[in-house]
């Protein structure tokens, strides 16, 4: 192999990479928590709502889960202007990420809600709790706790998927890497470094989200620490 790896040129791009990393983090966090909120709302509608909203949520979830995110980004960024809705690249990808993640989270949370035993709801009813109170205090906490692991996996996958925003020129970590590699021709060095940054981010996100889960759910905390 007649190739010298030269990582030196990367140092000149440090500010760009830090900016790109920031954007990746921003997109990931908004996507994760926005998607979580949207997904929980959709899950509640799909188990409780009237027929028409329920069907609409079903259609939305199936579309998001069965088409690639890249195509969703293209439809929103390139397609919507022909309907008179012109969004900046950043807003388009943000919208695409939140909508995409919402679809996945909705399906995960729905499974969690349906795993709650009906007797729980009956017990809540006999205590005179309203429907909303039952959902908020009786169903959702254990349901979310049960599906915490798939939610974390999905969130990490979403963080990796934010790299797709570079396809429409948003300068996240991957976008910056594309620019830097076309300017310096140090393609391999740049992508190897980027790959390890993502692998690192992967662990950081997993740890942080697990910590959030432990803070939110007393029972998971007790399971971890032993009965305290």
């Amino acid at each position: 192999m007649g190739y010298n790896f030269q990582f030196g040129v990367l140092v000149n791009y440090l500010p760009e990479f830090v900016g790109g990393l920031g954007l990746t983090l921003l997109l990931s966090l908004v996507g994760i928590f926005g998607g979580l909120a949207l997904g929980i709302a959709c899950a509640i509608v799909s188990v409780r709502g009237p027929l028409i909203p329920r069907v609409m949520v079903r259609v939305y979830v199936e579309i998001m889960r069965n088409t690639p995110m890249l195509v969703q980004i293209f439809v929103i960024f390139f397609g919507l202007p022909s309907l008179g809705i012109r969004l900046s690249p950043f807003v388009s990808v943000l919208l695409a990420i939140v909508l995409n993640n919402g679809g996945y989270i909705a399906e995960i949370v729905r499974a969690g809600i349906q795993s709650i035993h009906p007797s729980q709801v009956e017990a809540a009813e006999s205590l005179g709790l309203t429907g909303g109170q039952t959902m908020r205090f009786v169903i959702l906490p254990p349901a979310l706790e049960r599906v915490m692991t798939p939610i974390i996996s999905q969130s990490v996958l979403l963080m990796l998927a934010t790299s797709l925003v570079s396809a429409i020129g948003v300068e996240d970590l991957t976008g910056v890497a594309m620019i830097a590699s076309s300017e310096t021709f140090r393609t391999m060095e740049i992508y190897v470094v980027i790959a390890f940054i993502y692998v690192g981010l992967n662990f950081v996100f997993r740890a942080l989200l697990n910590a959030v889960g432990l803070l939110m759910f007393k029972r998971s905390r007790q399971r971890l620490l032993g009965r305290a």
Binding site: M69, V71, T174
Partner: protein, 233 residues
Amino acid sequence: MREFGQAEVLFIIFALQWTLTLTALAFVGGGIAGLGVALLRISRSRIIRWLVSGYIQIVQGMPLLVLMFLCYYAPSLFGIELDALFAAGIALTLNASAFLGAIWESALRAIPKAQWESAEALALPQSKVLRFVIAPQAVRIALPSTVGYLVQIVKETSLASIIGFVEITRAGQLVSNATFEPMKAFVCVAILYFVICFPLSRFSQWLEARSPGRAKGTSRGKRSIRSKSPKTT
């Protein structure tokens, strides 16, 4: 400027063969490599288990897009010019091997230890234990997730468009550039993906609903067991 008409739709549909080729390449390649990964993950040697676990963590931990760039540009270090189809195929294969390996490993681990032990007590060699005792049970457990992951692969082939491989997403871009009708072009592409992925997703859900270990876990199953037991005893 061209109108968005039948010819454009046909152009996108025609590109479907490349999406399907890439999917097949990734699924077969990833399946073979994934089987190796799964088997190595349950190997007796701790070092092998650790190495393979590291491989899974690294491949799952980097975006497929970055992996694809690496596979596309790395061969040129050795002076080999790799076709976009093969670069995308290799990247998807590596990615699928990590995910399928993890799915199949957990299926292998889900088989009760007694099955291994009793097969050993019958003096079956290791390879026959796997082939005749463990695999048939593990396949039933792993099938729903495997079909589910196939849907994932179909969608992931869209990333090959970024390195310039003409599958349906790239075909959609080309049509959109030629006709200035991005909405129609990309919605057409999305519909094609949906037509492939939706039946597969439903199939995966159907498999999961009728899989053996499932009935015990669901609340519905629990309830029916409880309500029936007083009558039978």
